[in-house]
Point group: C2
């Protein structure tokens, strides 16, 4: 079902593609002036699969890089229904009233280029999407998570060069996308519902342990007590985890969008985290680590693509996999055969 | 400091190397008869870096593969001091009294080829090391974890072909090695001390979540109550975790080696797990997944080694890393440059 919003969006993407002919220099000038038009076109370029678009995008990124890095980068995750959009709407609006410019990006492995959460979010973030100081632009997820994540990472650079102070990166609690988001943000927020058990089924193992803070949402009305109880339970459970390398002890808090409770406290918490990490040098260390991490991730994924797409590898791989699965050939022997094939090219 | 045991061990390794000249067929025949002599020599061959040894080992593995897979594979981890060796001694002895043949292998990233835990274990596992139905052979850790883990995985195949019913793979709570062990066993036991807090510092984040069971050790004397309390606390905490894909709910139990309490219950638990997974088909699914996982891991690591060791890549890499860290070049652009270099070979 194509809604009017869908059509607008598709039209926006097409018209952006036509305007791609702008040079990297023109786009850069627009971005540096804070123009959302050039910013949007540039992110579309990033997402394009065309070689000529990628070339312009790569030049643009390198121009913007020296002007990036000043923003606070926050990852936000949680299963569908936890209230991510309401939270971002409320949290983002608070930030803009404090004079901050915010960007909302997203990694949604379930979405498609022409639909998915990009529209849902905009409708659900009514106030924020009309706010002059907010830029909402989920990255459409076409192709593999790794590639999408790389593009989101580059979109952060463009947004920072355009003067945004806080970058929110939204994702859903499905596992791999959290790891990707964790590797590009300073602070990772996990939104959760009270009433542990059924509601948690959607959160993959390992996600709780990477969160810098767990926020129990919808702590209002009859749900205030259950939310407080859940927070206390998680606080106890987190004590059992080993400390994070940067010395931060993950926090647990509750919030209510309806009652407008706890939102400011979350921002205060993130600011105190950010200040502490700037002082102890961990922010810089971590961001450098992230940059080289993404470089090596890109090398890996391109090297694999190159390898696994070679016809002689492709044709032999599924046969070898079957032999390995049925214990007729060892994984090592199978790997060796493929690599010998490769090196004889 | 070289103990008499050290010398014996070094001598054993050397003499095994001299006897390497045995053909894969001879070693295979010995292994199938259950000879620990041929089994030891074969594992030494596996560990050898010499091309000729590796060739024999590869042939041997492929011969043994059809006879592998029947054993229960159990990973055992925990920080130093938790009592891993005592536990394995006691647990392993129980299994042998039930007529089982057991192998103890180890992955210890901190050990060296000529020393490390291999000797410590043998001294600490006095009864077991003299037991006819137990074969103790930690894999010395020379080189990268990935390579060591591959060899341990192949040692499992050899032990199974030699008729061992239960394979125990010991490792220490340092993170990456647990992930590697988890990927080659059916059941992963994490041994822990009561008195949560300081003692946990050595366990890396994420390890608790991959355990199929947490065992609180040293539940004896004045420590019985603290151990029971710790078990109850962990039981509550584990309820907050999402379920494992195979439907197993991780268990928490206490044990005492001194009082000989709780050991049989752990074996009963692992058997009921194993039976359930055989019935629901998850054992087969998981082992196939593990085999192809290790095939692709081997491809990846060999492909990277090949790539990163090329002189033209090596010479440019550290320069590019510096540019990326200082925001002068994007990770994508740096990766692209290296890959272009590579493909022009």
């Amino acid at each position: 079902m194509e809604s009017p919003e869908d059509k607008n969006n598709a039209a926006r993407i097409r018209s952006a593609r036509i305007q791609n002919k702008q040079s990297a220099e023109q786009l850069y000038a627009g971005i540096r002036k804070g123009s959302t038009k050039e910013l949007s076109i540039s992110i579309t370029l990033l997402e394009s699969e065309k070689a000529e678009d990628q070339e312009v995008a790569a030049r643009l990124i390198d121009m913007c890089l020296p002007h990036s890095g000043h923003a606070v980068r926050i990852g936000i995750s949680g299963v569908p229904g936890v209230g991510k959009s309401s939270f971002i709407e409320s949290f983002g609006t608070l930030l803009t009233t404090e004079g901050k410019k915010i960007s909302v990006l997203a990694i949604d492995p379930s979405s498609h280029i022409s639909g998915g959460s990009i529209l849902g979010d905009k409708t659900r973030m009514n106030a924020l999407s009309q706010n002059q100081n907010a830029f909402i632009r989920p990255t459409p997820s076409s192709g593999k998570l790794g590639g999408v994540a790389q593009k989101t990472r580059e979109a952060i650079v463009l947004c920072e060069a355009a003067g945004y102070d806080i970058i929110l990166i939204e994702t859903v609690g499905v596992g791999q996308s959290e790891i990707a988001v964790k590797s590009m943000v300073d602070f990772f927020l996990l939104l959760m519902l009270s009433g542990a058990g059924d509601e948690l089924q959607g959160i993959k193992r390992g996600i709780i342990e990477i969160a810098d803070a767990l926020i129990i949402t919808k702590a209002d009305g009859a749900n205030i007590q259950p939310a407080k109880l859940a927070a206390a339970t998680y606080k106890n459970a987190l004590h059992l985890f080993p400390p994070t390398p940067n010395g931060w002890i993950p926090r647990v808090a509750t919030c209510s969008i309806i009652d407008n409770e706890g939102i400011r406290e979350i921002w205060d918490m993130i600011q105190s985290f950010h200040n502490a990490m700037q002082l102890n040098g961990h922010l810089d260390v971590e961001r450098k680590r992230q940059s080289t991490y993404w470089m090596h991730e890109k090398i890996k994924s391109d090297l694999f693509d190159h390898f696994y797409q070679l016809p002689k590898i492709k044709s032999r791989l599924s046969e070898l996999e079957k032999l390995v699965e049925s214990n007729k050939l060892s994984p090592t022997a199978a790997a060796k055969e493929l690599l010998n094939n490769f090196q004889q090219s």
